[in-house]
Symmetry: C2
Subunit: 224 residues, 2 copies
């Protein structure tokens, strides 16, 4: 998906295969550019990001950025496409045969972990949604919907089986998503609320416990 956005070099050996070395340089430089782009876009948004800053951060001259990507928008789209792939990972903890407590706790912890280790990516994604999600493709959104639907069906199954109290699974996932997201995306606020300068792994641990205890305490059926 990301590949469609990448500019082709204007001049290339006709019909011949590219040198493996060329490919490696391409891959490396594209990675450098995307990594730098995530940082800058997440801090300044799409309109506020100058390509020159992406170039500087990636150690390449500005013109080279244009050699690898045909426009600023192409870089942005490639970044978005890349980070959508991280969306599902945490949700794999939600499996029908799993015990609800274990599954939901696994999801919350995985989500917190992801947000902590990929803070810039996470903020960029949040930024994109706040601005109205205009660069998310229909396919991206459909994918996220499908993944959500599957998780919702599993929770509904647990409710039907009497393992969980009656709960609106869609709103439940919104709660879990937003709570976990908060610690990474809104770190300055979270740090203020917790009376510290910066969040440490201990705060993430406390967050996980509070979310899991509170939510599970509210929906776990008494018999479970």
């Amino acid at each position: 998906m990301a590949m469609a956005e990448v500019a082709e070099p204007a001049e290339r050996k006709p019909r011949g295969r590219r040198e493996p070395n060329e490919e490696r340089i391409r891959a490396r430089n594209q990675r450098l550019i995307l990594k730098a782009a995530i940082e800058v876009f997440s801090k300044k948004g799409f309109d506020g990001t100058p390509i020159s800053e992406i170039a500087e951060k990636s150690g390449l001259p500005k013109a080279n950025v244009y050699y690898y990507f045909e426009s600023k928008e192409a870089i942005y789209r490639a970044v978005i496409a890349h980070l959508i792939q991280g969306w599902d990972d945490a949700l794999t903890h939600i499996r029908p045969e799993a015990d609800p407590r274990t599954a939901l706790e696994g999801y919350v912890r995985a989500k917190l972990e992801y947000t902590r280790k990929n803070a810039s990516e996470s903020r960029l994604f949040a930024s994109e949604i706040i601005r109205g999600a205009e660069y998310l493709t229909r396919a991206d959104r459909q994918h996220m919907k499908d993944v959500t639907d599957k998780a919702v069906a599993i929770v509904d199954g647990w409710v039907a089986a009497g393992q969980l109290k009656q709960v609106n699974a869609r709103h439940l996932f919104i709660m879990l998503w937003s709570a976990t997201q908060f610690y990474g995306d809104f770190e300055p606020l979270a740090a203020d609320a917790l009376l510290v300068k910066r969040l440490t792994s201990r705060h993430y641990e406390d967050a996980a416990r509070t979310i899991v205890d509170t939510v599970l305490g509210g929906i776990l059926a008494a018999s479970a």
Copy 2:
């Protein structure tokens, strides 16, 4: 606070009081500018917002915007200062003498209502935090901390009195803040998750019920 940021007109009657009419025009135009600024800033962020667009949206020529505010940053700071005032309102529901269920439910509903009716403001605030909160003054942040501290102390009191189970009040408020905020700031995602094109008051009602039932179910002491 906002006033400190506003440019003084270069030429003014020396020593004389200003005409009431002058004042009215000033107030009206400043209001128009701030209102337009909230909309544009929330969509494009600080760096991505052109003053020309604020001018257009407020119906004034660009030079007039500079007549009332000395810089783009001054407008942004004035907007931030204004919306900080909305921060406390919902928290007034958390009073020590109130019943915990009533108080927390009141808070959640007020917060959802605010986010729904002031979506642009809310998104602008979220955007500012995501970018690292560099335009929030120390005083603004201290104010938010003080208000949070008060609410935390009240919840701790409820826990001590046996009205609530043991819970980390600071993380609890983060949960409530993030969950309620989500429906306004990340509306496209929430709508996708709820299988609709746009959120209506019914969805906000469902959200309130899910949040309150889940969280209160998790922390209300059995005897309460």
